[in-house]
């Protein structure tokens, strides 16, 4: 069975400083991993995905994530936070890897990112 642990429920950073949102996973398969962002009262938008190609994944809005199999981690980073980054972020694992038709997305509990002006 798969699971996702987001280590921080709330992260606050100052505008212009780096962002680190932490995620650890467990999976019986080689997983597909995703980060989604959710702004208040909005749906989920894909930031980036890991699909067993490059371990460093670049996403939209300057976000990156690095897949580390030895640490079972998939942490999300951004070099410089912007006010518009304030949102809820979800780390998601797909098992079996997305695309087999019976896959299920398992969500972490989310990290709320607050940007301090």
């Amino acid at each position: 069975a798969q699971s996702v642990t987001q280590l921080d429920s709330h992260v606050s950073v100052s505008e212009g400083t780096p962002v680190l949102l932490r995620c650890n996973y467990s999976s019986s398969y080689s997983p597909s991993l995703f980060w989604y962002v959710q702004h208040p009262n909005k749906g989920l938008q894909l930031l980036l995905k890991y699909t067993s190609a490059a371990t460093l994944v670049k996403g939209i809005n300057g976000f990156e994530a690095e897949f580390k199999k030895s640490e079972t981690s998939f942490h999300l980073t951004k070099p410089s936070a912007h006010m518009s980054d304030a949102a809820e972020y979800f780390c998601v694992v797909s098992e079996p890897p997305q695309g087999f038709g019976n896959e299920k997305l398992t969500f972490g509990t989310g990290t709320r990112l607050t940007i301090i002006p």
Partner: protein
């Protein structure tokens, strides 16, 4: 252009009164999902369709039903909404068989039960 469209965005229903939420997609994806997201919680999968095959999660209450009349549309029916069913309901689609494809989410329908 919106690819996964949920209607309505906000729905208010009375306790016990049946309500239907709708989802349509222009992506021609064969997998459609319904998630329930309560306040400050992660989305929770209720069920999904792989083409016409319906897959119910073991802990989804019987009060929740779904219909998929064709590839483009999927409906969530709540037969007798309770106060505990107030939540954001998210529809998502993905293209099975294609490896490593992501799920596309709609904007969600926020359900209030009064």
């Amino acid at each position: 252009d919106a690819m996964v469209i949920q209607n309505p965005r906000y729905q208010v229903t009375q306790f016990g009164k049946p309500v239907t939420l709708s989802c349509s997609q222009t992506l021609n994806h064969n997998v459609m999902y319904w998630y329930q997201q309560k306040s400050s919680q992660a989305p929770k999968l209720l069920f999904h369709y792989y083409d016409k095959d319906f897959n119910n999660e073991a802990d989804t209450p019987d009060n929740f039903q779904s219909r998929r009349p064709n590839t483009s549309f999927c409906f969530l029916d709540i037969r007798s909404p309770g106060l505990g069913d107030a939540a954001m309901y998210l529809c998502a689609t993905s293209r099975a068989i294609v490896l490593n494809t992501e799920a596309f989410f709609g904007q969600g329908t926020r359900l209030t039960v009064v």
